[in-house]
Symmetry: C2
Subunit: 367 residues, 2 copies
């Protein structure tokens, strides 16, 4: 997608012709105030990039996990480490973030694709092309999610006779959360490019403000009209007819249709249900955990309390953290919540839209 008019993905291979190529990512910690590219050369650097959220978003951490396996295999080859090293390194990558299942998916895809080869340059080469393939698949899936979700927006635009379609989204499920296009924002980008009048309500998304920092920045770069709101505001807008549609992403979807997404998603789903507003989840099928029947089994990541006690922002042209409570105040930071399937209108995947309450999800397991 666009960054100041230039095309970017969130993750790519630098000097892709060599099997010793490094991986580069947009370091999202500094957005929207500073655009920085980070070069990652070792699996340890990828572990840090994922756990400290230089890269984040369910799809992107899956792809980053895949590239992490490539860096591991490259390192094993160049330093003569054995497969035990690869096993430990991929476990470490796997444990960086517990909630999004895509991370596990990306790493397991890589292992099944390359580990049958002996520890030679061919394995490194296959690891490189496989991780690039996974990145391309992720981008392609997101584009298809956009195409599959577009008719939902088009139908509302027709019903509103061309008046602006107002869409609420929570957190960032845009292209920054994937390789490209995004999940929840993908249908919105396609609708906007088609000339449909859309306007996005952007939830700030405390504590890490991915809405204010990332979604607003994406929409600005793509020229999509949008308004930032406090997370508390969505219910009031819905009660007053100011939201036509909610689309959010997902970090893990259970077979029964329950799904984990950024903390606060459940509250918006309740409000949409109470006001009879369609509430869609947009996610590639790599987000579905076919081993998990109900949402209650999804592990919920707990992050540092300081992410709640401090807010990061720009002051005097510098990004600083400000303390918003008494120094002694304890805080707790759950990063995700689980929304029950009964509140979901439909799940938009690259394979089509499925009913969250039906047995259609289980059928998506085939490839």
């Amino acid at each position: 997608m666009q960054v100041n008019g230039q095309y970017f993905r969130t993750i790519w291979v630098y000097n892709a012709k060599s099997i010793f190529a490094d991986v580069q990512v947009i370091d999202q910690r500094f957005l929207p105030h500073r655009f920085e590219v980070e070069t990652l050369s070792t699996y340890k650097e990828m572990v840090t990039a994922i756990s400290d959220m230089h890269v984040r978003g369910s799809g992107l951490i899956g792809v980053a996990g895949a590239f992490g396996v490539y860096l591991t295999i490259r390192e094993a080859f160049t330093t003569g480490k054995n497969d035990e090293f690869i096993k430990r390194a991929t476990d470490e990558l796997m444990n960086t973030r517990p909630t999004a299942v895509n991370l596990k998916w990306g790493i397991e895809q890589m292992i099944s694709k390359v580990m049958h080869l002996p520890a030679n340059a061919d394995r490194v080469r296959l690891a490189l092309t496989s991780s690039q393939h996974i990145a391309n698949l992720d981008a392609e899936s997101c584009k298809r999610i956009g195409l599959n979700g577009l008719p939902i927006i088009e139908q509302i635009a027709v019903r509103k006779r061309g008046y602006t379609v107002n869409i609420l989204t929570h957190c960032n499920a845009g292209w920054l959360a994937f390789t490209d296009y995004g999940s929840a924002l993908s249908p919105i980008y396609l609708a906007h490019r088609k000339g449909i009048r859309v306007h996005v309500w952007v939830d700030e998304t405390r504590p890490r403000n991915q809405g204010a920092a990332l979604t607003a920045w994406e929409l600005l770069n793509e020229g999509v009209p949008h308004t930032l709101i406090a997370d508390n505001t969505g219910g009031h807008l819905m009660q007053n007819g100011m939201i036509d549609l909610v689309i959010v992403g997902a970090d893990r979807i259970a077979v029964n249709g329950d799904f984990a997404n950024k903390i606060g998603t459940y509250l918006k789903a309740l409000a949409a249900f109470d006001n009879q507003i369609p509430f869609y989840v947009a996610a590639p099928t790599s987000t579905i955990d076919f081993n998990l029947y109900r949402g209650i089994g999804i592990p919920i990541e707990q992050r540092s309390a300081n992410e709640v006690r401090y807010v990061s922002g720009l002051y005097n042209n510098k990004v600083v953290d400000v303390l918003i409570c008494p120094r002694e105040t304890p805080a707790i930071n759950y990063a995700f919540d689980v929304t029950p399937a009964r509140l979901v209108t439909g799940i938009i995947t690259e394979k089509g839209i499925v009913n969250a309450l039906s047995d259609e999800i289980a059928k998506l397991g085939g490839s």
Copy 2:
């Protein structure tokens, strides 16, 4: 209540023996990082104090309105201005904040009590004692709200066999929002003093963070165990059995039981209902608008978009505002939302607990 072990109210008369006494308030803009007292000598200063939120909270702005009328009448007397000046000044006070009905109530109480006297020193004296009386009434009402709400907490403590009672509150409906004691926090303070084990989940309450800045500070000063959470978190805690009770304040209650409170209250009420957790509103009867049948008629204040775009906090021992979104990002800032009566378990008033869905609210109109 306590500030570093010393007793304070939020508003008082300085040198109360003179009819030319000034009014003093805790300037809440600097909490929790700095404790500052502001002296107000003119009605204009009170207008600024209310509209710029040096003082805030439904009860306190009612009492501040009353003291504003006193300052108006004093100024009219000392500078020889006529009753037309008083009319204009009280209108100005009335228009500082649109949502909380207590402001109107406080000002109208004063006008009906003192304006029958001619414009002499006696009128100034009566205005002074009347405003002090309104402040005392507010504190007394809050204390009674505490006594009336206490059994709710006691019963949960019994049911939990002495395990900690976990209570969620939104925004600040503590003593800082009134003259003393508070509404939602009043039963909690009484329970804590009685030795009941309570723990308060404090909603940060974006965009102005009254939970993080004021409620956390109050609870800290009173020694009540508490944990700060992002506004997005309450639903997850309720789903996981970590909240036994929700108590919030109100800025205006309609006769049918719908009520306006800080933006985001409606989302928590939906979650409490979905998880069968008791959800109480605590407010003095001065918060009831007996002229309003349904909540839909409550005017919702819109404040500056910069309260959403910036967050205020402590950096290098200085309170600064940091920008959390791109400079070009537009924002909107609704300060309140309306929660329908169907989601309310009961309303705790100084006259007792009433059922929000019954005709009991209308009966509270008599004095």
